[in-house]
Structures are given as C-alpha cells and as structure tokens.
C-alpha cells in the first residue's frame, strides 16, 4: 500500500517540529513533509501531488488562503485542512470555500489521525479520476435557485431575520450540508456541533452567512433541466422523507440522537445525485435515459455511464468534509471491509 502523502505548512518552526516528533509513530504509513516557508510550500504544491494539505492561515508573504486556493486549482483532489489558532472574520470567510476541514489549535494527535484516516477512507469511496477531481473542487453542493433568490433578498435587508434565514437554509439540501460542515468546526462555530441546519445557522450567525454569500458567492444554484434533476421537488421530498425517518426512529423507541442522525442522513442522501447532475449534466441525462428506456436501476446506470454511483460521490464528499461516520456511512454505504473511523467530526 502506498504511503499517504501529507504536507504540513506553518510559519512557526516549533509547531512543525513538535508535530513531526509527535507524528513520528506514523512514519511507516504516512510520508510527511514539513514546511515553514509558505513560498516553498507553494512550489512543492505545484511540483508534486499530496493527499493531504494541513496549513495555518496567518503566515507572512503567502498566506494559508492562497495555498489552499492554489491547491484547489492545481491539485483539487488533495484533502485541504486548516490548522489555525485564530483567524478574523475575513480570513475565515476566505477559506470557507477552499478548505475541506477546519481544525483549531491546539488540536490533539487523535484529531490529526482521524483527519488523515478520513482522507484514506474517502479515496476508497471514490477512486482517483475525473469524477473525483471535479467533486473535490466544489465549495458547496448546488442549491435550489428559488431558495438562493429568497436568501439573497432576505440578506440584503437592513436587519435580516434569523428565523427566516434559518428556515430558508434548512429547506435546501446543499446549503444545509455546507452550514453544518462549517459550524461543526471549532474554527467557525463555537465547538458546538449540531445536527440541525436551523440550529447551525443560529450558531454561525447571520452576519457570517451574509459574508459567505456576498464575498465568496459560496452557494451556486443548480441550473439543469427538470428532466435531468428537479432540485425543487427533490429537496421537498427529501425533507418529507427525513421527517418520516425521524418519526419512524421514535416509533421503534430509538433515542433522540439516533433519530436525529437518521433524519439528517436521510435528508443528505441525495447530495451525490445533485453534485453529479451539476458537474456532469450531459452524462446524467444519459443515466436518466438508460433508466427510463432500459429499465436499469439508477445505480447501475450511473456506474455504466460515469463509472461510479451517486452514493459513492455523496459519501466521498461528506467524508472529506469531516461529517460524522454515521452520516457518511448512511449516505455512502458501509465500506466493504467494515472499517470505520470512530472519531468526532472535528475535535474541539
């Protein structure tokens, strides 16, 4: 098995040396490069591929957001992770779209180990190739055009209403996924990770969300014909199914947490479909035709046309975004060897 290649970048040499010592135990499985000069790091990133990039944000000359962006452009498949002690609002907004995971200092060995395992596991879900390259590069799962319009309108008001913003975001699969990814990090949120999109919005605050929209344009609408994917209907029906899953969990006496996991996993189950329809709309049209004309299962058709399935794509995306294992498994299916990483979404 190939060693997993990781590049650590931090202008503080002490941090790098300590990481190097602490992670020495993984030398058999990980090939680690430590770089205290972000200009050198930039060169390294252009020269050779890395599986994982872990970088600080505030650095002289070339800062972390620039590194992340370069990697985003030239090595989209690299799992990009922020490890930072402090970032102001503007810096945080800058990296919200390009980084996959956000760790805040101080973080433990377990958190780093967990993150690297996620990277390994995600590559098993979706092998390298055209699809993975495209998926790893999206900042957010495309959203319902109607909801995006409403959200922009609300955020342009002098005093946007938190409840309205929360309801709008909760009514869209892609927006919900993004906000939950961000709020789970101690970096954006306050270490209070939640399974509820509304709660996530309330915790992030309207101001940050407005910044993400206006400065980063983080959400893009899904603009494909209805025959390929009817995003509006999909979100509505997913919402109903999610409620049903929750009710069903209660009906069999599962506790509140399990019910919530069931609920959010059901809601996010279609992220892969939305992403594929957005990135590969022509191929996805063929998938639909195969299903309609030859009576194939969607999975089979996807496999035949795209070489992978929408659940693989969904599982991959949620894994690199650091979603909890339960949710990743529910969306992407269990991995064949049943190996699962039991670690928190983000350490805090």
């Amino acid at each position: 098995m190939n060693k997993i290649k990781i590049l650590f970048v931090d202008d503080e040499v002490n941090i790098l040396q300590a990481l190097k010592r602490m992670l020495h135990t993984y030398r058999q499985e990980w090939e680690m490069t430590f770089c205290s000069n972000s200009e050198d790091a930039l060169r390294l990133l252009r020269e050779q591929p890395y599986d994982v990039l872990v970088t600080d944000i505030r650095m002289p000359h070339v800062d972390g957001s620039r590194l992340l962006f370069e990697s985003f452009l030239y090595q989209p498949e690299t799992m990009r992770c922020v490890l930072s002690g402090y970032a102001d609002r503007d810096q945080a907004i800058k990296v919200a779209g390009t980084a996959h995971q956000f760790l805040s200092k101080p973080c433990t060995k377990d958190a780093i180990e967990c993150m690297v395992q996620r990277a390994q596991q995600s590559s098993e879900r979706l092998p390298p190739g055209e699809v993975r390259r495209a998926v790893a590069r999206i900042s957010a799962v495309p959203c319902r055009p109607t909801v995006l319009r409403e959200l922009n309108r609300e955020l342009q008001l002098e005093q946007p209403n938190l409840e309205v913003v929360a309801s709008l975001i909760a009514s869209d699969i892609g927006m919900s996924a993004k906000i939950m990814q961000l709020v789970a990090s101690s970096f954006f949120g306050r270490c209070t990770a939640v399974f509820c999109p509304r709660e996530a919005v309330a915790l992030l605050g309207v101001e940050l969300i407005a910044g993400l929209l206006s400065e980063m344009g983080i959400f893009t609408p899904l603009l494909v014909e209805k025959e390929i994917l009817d995003i509006e209907a999909l979100c509505e029906s997913s919402m109903q199914e999610a409620h049903a899953a929750r009710d069903a969990s209660f009906a069999v006496d599962l506790n509140e947490r399990t019910a919530s996991i069931a609920c959010i996993s059901t809601y996010l189950r279609s992220v892969g479909t939305i992403v594929l329809a957005h990135l590969f709309s022509d191929q996805y049209r063929q998938v639909k035709q195969l299903v309609a004309q030859h009576g194939l299962e969607t999975e089979q058709a996807e496999q035949r046309i795209l070489g992978t399935t929408s659940s693989n794509v969904g599982g991959y995306l949620l894994a690199i975004w650091g979603f909890p294992q339960h949710v990743v498994d529910a969306v992407g299916g269990n991995l064949p060897d049943k190996r699962s990483v039991q670690c928190p979404m983000i350490s805090c």
């Binding site: 941090i15 300590a18 990481l19 010592r21 200092k105 101080p106 019910a259 919530s260 350490s347």
Partner: protein, 468 residues
C-alpha cells in the same frame, strides 16, 4: 334799561361759559374714564405677562435659581427644587454656596457669583458638583448670567441634572472597555494557543518515546542480569550498575512518565481556560446568537475561578434539557460574571463578618420553568441588608469601597436581562445567610416564537461521539 340789558348779556355769557365748562368737564371725565379703562387693561395685561413669565420659569425643565451678589437665593423654580430636594421657602433662606459648594472658591461672597459666572463661561463650562438637601452629591451643568434690576446686580443660574447622562457615559465607557478587553482576550488566546499546540505535541512525543525507551530498559535489565553471571563481564556490569545508581534510574523510570502525564494535564487545562476565555469574550457579539446557557455559565465560572476559589466551593446543577436561547452572548456573559463575582464577594464579606475561616458555597443552578430558562446563582454570604434591598439595582449604588466597585454592575445586569432580553432579574436574600439571584430568560425572545419549532432537534456531536 341799560343795566337790564347789561345784566341780560352778563347772564347769557355766564350761561354759555357754564355750558362750555360743563362740556369740558364731560369731555375730561370721558377722557379720564377712557384712560382709566386703558390703565386697567394694561394692568391686567401686565399681570398676565408676569404670570406667564412666572409659569415659564416655574415649569422650565431646567433648574433656574436667582441670587444676589452675596449669593443669597432670591428665587428658585420647581425643577431646581426637585434637583436639590429643597422646598421653596427653605431654599430662599439659603446661600448658593450651600447648594453648589465649589462656588466658595473665592474669599468674598461676591466672588462666588463671579466665580460661578466665570466657571460657566470657561471652556469646560460643563460639570460641577452640587449637594442635595440630604447631603448626596449630584453632578450638574451650570450656566450663570448677570442682570441688573432696580440698580442692583443679581445673577441667574440655569442648572441641568447630569445624573442620567453620566450614567449613560459610564455604561458606554464600560462597554467600550469590555469590547477592547474582549479583543485583547481573543488575541491573547491565539498567542497562547500556538505554544500550547507544540508544548502538547512535544510532550505527547516524549510520552511515546519514553514508552519505547522503557521497553529497551527492560530488555537491558534482562541482559544485565545474564551478563552478571559471566565473570569476564563482571566489572563492566558493576560499572553500569553504579552509573544506574548514581542517576537513580529506578526513580527516573517511575517519575518520568508521571511528570509527562502531569505536563499534559497542565497543558490541557491551560487550553481549556483559554477556550473558555475566548468563548466568554468573543468579540463582535453585538449580534443575537443562539447560546447554550450551561456552557456559557461554565465558561464564566472558569474565567473568574480566581475570584471564588479561595472563598467558596462550587456546586453546579445544570438542567441538561435546557434549550439554547437566542441572546446577546457577550452581554449575558457579563451578567453571569457580575453575579458570580458579587456572590464571591458576599461570601468573603460574610466570612470576614463572622471572623470564620470555613469556606462558603457558591451554587449555580439552571432549570426550565414553563417558557423560561431559569438561572440561579446562590451564595452563603453576608446577605443584603433590608435597608438597601430596594436600591441595589440603582445606578451608582455600591456598598463597596471606592475603587472596588463602580456601582454599575447590577444596574447593567438589570438593563441587559430586563430591557434587552425581556427577562426578569430579582433576588431573595436573608441577611447573614446568603442571597440567591434569579435570572429568568424567555425561551423565545419575541413574536418569532410563533414560527414552528425547528425541523430537526439539536444534538451535539460531543454527546454522540466521544469528543475529548
């Protein structure tokens, strides 16, 4: 005949003269009457004017006092009576220096008026301290002007009570201070987190490194005892054993892992405190946000641990079902901090009063009551004397010595809880036994509560997965 004629003419002339006189008299009377009427009218108008002027002066929102050049008060309007708490007739007997002592600045009494006049014309023509009838000082703005009436020089002082403005200024200054402290704290947190990261990483490295070394040492022990059986190695073994003795290897092998573990514990606890500080002070929190009250209280208790840990034991009883509420986190943290610090001070004061050394108990409880989140902060301190219970939420009211309290703490708490969060803030206190402060916060802050509940229940990851 001639005399008759003469007489006739004479009478006639007399008659016409009389007529003329009567006419004149009548005219004069009419004129008199008219001017009398005009005068009466004028007098009425004048009286009306005087009443009007009096009414204006009396009802003016600002205090108006006139005094002669000796400072003797000649008139005082309603507003001024209220500001100083004097009745009209009492005030009239007073000197302006009794009300505004700093007017005594000059030697001569006349100087005092001029001094006031100069003061009001000076650049800082702002604040001057007055004394109320009950002796309490009061911040005033005074403008004095001079006027001459009936060949006598008098002075008019216009006064404005600055208490409310001062209070707002103090609150603003306090808020600004808190904001800069918050920004500073966030910066410091960052500065501390970087070294904590590598202190922790290095220590974890040492821990795993020493595990490896310990294994080698165990193998060495075995090797050494086997070598000891060989005569030719005897001296080498003895040398090594002596070396081991001299560095007390057994001790090192016991203590090094313990030292490493304690260092890790210390680093973790520093990280926890820094995180609490960062959460407590997070700058830019003028926005309403959803806050977990239990966690906010934990943070508060962590950041001010130094205030209570020497005088009290802490007992917390948090309701785990307490939902997060929408609030202004920075301001609410400030409330919790004030109440906890007050509780600690009360316990300290109680200990001093009883000359006792046993520690007090600080109890922080959260619970749900209908549509309210209830926070109770109880101390076993000195209690609040009944005499001052009604005043403790008044701005500037403090029992603490100068420099220890601004008297703003509870006033700010009241403002934040009651006015900004539409909550309730009250206390129950038994002097000598302790006080409980109750903070009631509405679960839904306003009409927004009519929106259907969240589609998904909020669950924290940490409770599902074992976060460290």
């Amino acid at each position: 005949m001639v005399p008759n004629e003469v007489l006739e003419r004479f009478v006639q002339r007399e008659r016409s003269a009389r007529k003329e006189a009567e006419r004149l008299l009548e005219e004069r009377s009419r004129q008199l009457y008219q001017s009398n009427a005009t005068l009466t009218q004028m007098a009425a108008a004048l009286e009306d004017e005087v009443r009007r002027t009096q009414a204006i002066v009396e009802t003016a929102a600002e205090g108006i006092i006139t005094f002669d050049s000796n400072g003797n008060i000649e008139s005082i309007n309603c507003a001024a009576q209220q500001i100083f708490g004097y009745d009209f007739y009492v005030a009239i007997g007073k000197n302006i220096c009794d009300l505004v002592p700093s007017a005594k600045f000059c030697d001569s009494s006349e100087g005092c008026a001029i001094n006031l006049l100069a003061f009001s014309q000076s650049e800082h023509g702002g604040e001057i301290q007055g004394i109320k009838s009950d002796g309490t000082p009061i911040p005033l703005e005074i403008v004095v002007s001079e006027f001459t009436h009936a060949y006598r020089t008098s002075f008019t002082a216009m006064l404005r009570d600055l208490t409310r403005r001062k209070q707002l200024e103090t609150q603003l200054a306090h808020a600004q201070k808190m904001e800069s402290v918050g920004q500073l704290a966030a910066g410091i947190a960052h500065e501390i987190n970087t070294p904590i990261q590598y202190v922790g990483d290095n220590t974890r490295f040492l821990k795993s490194a020493f595990d490896g070394i310990e294994q080698i040492l165990q193998a060495t022990d075995q090797l050494l005892s086997r070598c000891a059986q060989h005569a030719e190695l005897e001296s080498s073994v003895a040398t090594l054993r002596a070396l081991q003795e001299s560095v007390d290897l057994a001790f090192l092998r016991d203590e090094i892992p313990a030292a490493i573990d304690q260092t890790l514990e210390g680093a973790d606890s520093v990280a926890r405190i820094v995180r609490a500080m960062k959460d407590f002070s997070h700058p830019g929190s003028e926005e309403r946000m959803r806050v977990n009250l239990n966690r906010a209280l934990e943070n508060t208790l962590t950041v001010c641990k130094n205030e209570w840990k020497y005088v009290a034991d802490l007992k917390t009883d948090f309701c785990e079902d307490l939902p997060s509420i929408d609030c202004l986190p920075g301001e609410l943290n400030q409330v919790f901090l004030n109440l906890v610090v007050n509780a600690a001070h009360a316990i300290e004061a109680g200990m001093a009063a009883r000359k006792a050394s046993e520690r007090g108990l600080l109890t922080v409880t959260t619970r749900l009551s209908d549509r309210w989140a209830v926070i109770e902060i109880a101390d076993t301190g000195c209690g609040i004397p009944a005499a001052i219970q009604s005043r403790i939420f008044d701005p500037f009211f403090t029992t603490k010595s100068v420099g220890k309290g601004t008297g703003q703490g509870l006033a700010i708490c009241y403002n934040v809880v009651v006015e900004k969060h539409l909550g309730k803030l009250f206390f129950t206190s038994t002097p000598g036994e302790g006080t409980v402060f109750h903070v009631w916060l509405p679960l839904a802050s306003d009409a927004k509560s009519t929106v259907p509940p969240a589609a998904y229940p909020a669950v924290e990851y940490s409770s599902i997965l074992q976060t460290e």
